[in-house]
Assembly symmetry: C2
Homo-oligomer: 136 residues x 2
DNA sequence: CCATTAATCTACTAAATCGATAGGGTAAAT
DNA sequence: ATTTACCCTATCGATTTAGTAGATTAATGG
């Protein structure tokens, strides 16, 4: 299941991407427009800022705004920041690899080999999609 | 993340599929060989039996055994029984559809459209894979 | 220059859900 | 009598989602 964090994060990003300008948009405005808990959204936007997609401005007239072109924001990055690993099991993860406790031989593991295929098919989608594709 | 339920279920199925005969294999034997909690595996095998992949026999010499050819057990079915929906959001699920609370217009929803692609790419894999493919 | 307002930031807490497992007892087959 | 599957329930722990309280920063109006 996709977490609400990821879902809300994607919605916020698309809302920002769709703005005509790149002026700061307050959290409250994003939350209201996308029907999201404002406080929850705060923490989501924070992690997106730390990753470098967004910047923020404090005080009156402040808010969040994109600092990258939508076409320069690939889904692989967004998903990994918000959702975590794209793989469904750690033992096939490219960026978050972990060995299984139970499995003595990965190459002989049926689950492992199936999940490699699933991972690759998801990667194929995410790699070919940027934020720009989401808004058009 | 893939649940351990699904992981263990797949391992159990492949273990049964790999047996030379179709005689009953006791839960304890499967659990030991695959390093799985026996009690947990009980409930997993039960749901696989109810779905029609397995049958069981009680008492001495009892256990679980496949009642379908591995080539007749598609991953789509296995995953749906064990893991639930293949889709990452209910609003793109073919078998477990649910409308989103927040989203007024699905067709205009960026998340929705992205997740349709992810769903389809996963389906592509699962539809082309049966239990037989996992053991060879 | 100061007070007010609007906004992000930080930290703590809480509720709710879910995943995984354990325990104990029942039923059926040998 | 023994061995095995079957069924029900409780629990522990982690994660997700959300709320509360306050601190910090910046713009603005007098």
């Amino acid at each position: 299941m996709l977490s609400k964090k990821t879902k809300y994060g994607l919605k916020a990003l698309t809302f920002l991407a769709v703005q005509k300008h790149r002026n700061p948009v307050p959290i409250s405005e994003i939350a209201e427009h996308e029907h999201i808990s404002q406080k929850f959204l705060e923490s989501i936007l924070l992690s997106l800022r730390k990753t470098g997609f967004l910047a923020s401005k404090k005080g009156k007239g402040g808010g969040y705004y994109l600092i990258k072109e939508p076409s320069e924001i690939p889904m692989t990055s967004v998903i990994r920041v918000l959702e975590g690993p794209i793989s469904m099991v750690p033992c096939v993860s490219l960026n978050f690899y972990e060995k299984c406790d139970d499995c003595p031989d990965e190459n002989a593991c049926a689950v492992h080999n199936l999940m490699i295929q699933v991972r690759d098919s998801a990667l194929e989608v995410y790699r070919n999609t940027t934020l720009k594709d989401l808004i058009s």
